[in-house]
Amino acid sequence: MLNLISPTFVLLFQEGPRTPVEQMKYAAVHPDLSKFLVIGALLFIIGVAGVLTRRNIIVIFMSIELILNAANLNFIAFSRYLYTTGNANAVAGQIFTVFVIVVAAAEAAIGLGIVIALYRNKETIWVDEIDLLKW
């Protein structure tokens, strides 16, 4: 098991100076692609766990926002990576992030409107009590 995950830690703290503390300092100042990807994956996993486990519909919406922001982080990280390697189209990732934010805003507005309408009709925001669409 340790054998399996140790390359990840090597990647997390690889380039530059010698001692572990110096390495961590260097990695904090010069993050490369893998750190952003790991953070993005962690955000995504936290979001998925929130969506699947929580009962409160507002917390579920927040978790969906986390998932979208994980995708945004990946876009930005790859954009930065392509920029440092000299790709001319690197800015496409940032443009896509803008559109993801727009869609997230629209989704939050509509979703919260639905929450208000639901609460007015059913007096609950627990998702396990909202089973109108269940067969």
Partner: protein, 159 residues
């Protein structure tokens, strides 16, 4: 986030804070989601271990050289008025390509936002607002008027 705050103020979430209600779903859903998350973690570890070396091998410039070049480039940029940051052309590039290559998606996104605003306003209307706009089913209105006599005053007079 501001939207979320508004809805949290509108909807009663105090019960969760007081800890009377269960926060989480049933045991089954929690177990399933934990298994799913563990699978995701395993996938991430596998992907990083497997693919990242190849991604780095494709780099024409090694990452430490690239970051050193970035530092030099940052230092050569003009300082802003306060001196705490430097002026880059990044936002200019982003804006130019947003309007040049993505102008059609930009317009579509603006329409999408407009539709979302209208839709959320419609969804969040109260019964009184709907009654004053004469937008309620007559049978429903009869039932609701029995409960709340003030609704009759709001209804526009038909001629």
């Amino acid at each position: 986030m501001v939207l979320f705050l508004f809805v949290i103020m509108l909807v009663n979430v105090g019960a969760e804070e007081r800890g009377r209600d269960e926060i989480f779903n049933n045991q089954r859903q929690v177990t399933a989601s934990l298994i799913f998350c563990l699978l995701l973690v395993a996938g991430v570890l596998y992907a990083v271990n497997k693919g990242y070396g190849g991604l780095q091998a494709r780099n024409k410039i090694p990452p430490d050289v690239a970051s050193a070049q970035e530092t030099v480039r940052d230092q050569s940029l003009p300082k802003s008025a306060t001196g705490s940051s430097s002026i880059t052309k990044d936002s200019e590039t982003l804006a130019a390509s947003l309007y040049r290559f993505a102008s059609l998606p930009f317009e579509i996104a603006s329409v999408l936002l407009l539709v979302a605003i209208i839709g959320s306003v419609m969804l969040a209307r109260t019964l009184r607002q709907e009654a004053s706009a004469d937008d309620v089913d007559p049978e429903v209105l009869q039932v609701e008027m029995a409960r709340d006599p003030d609704l009759a005053k709001l209804e526009p007079q038909s001629d």
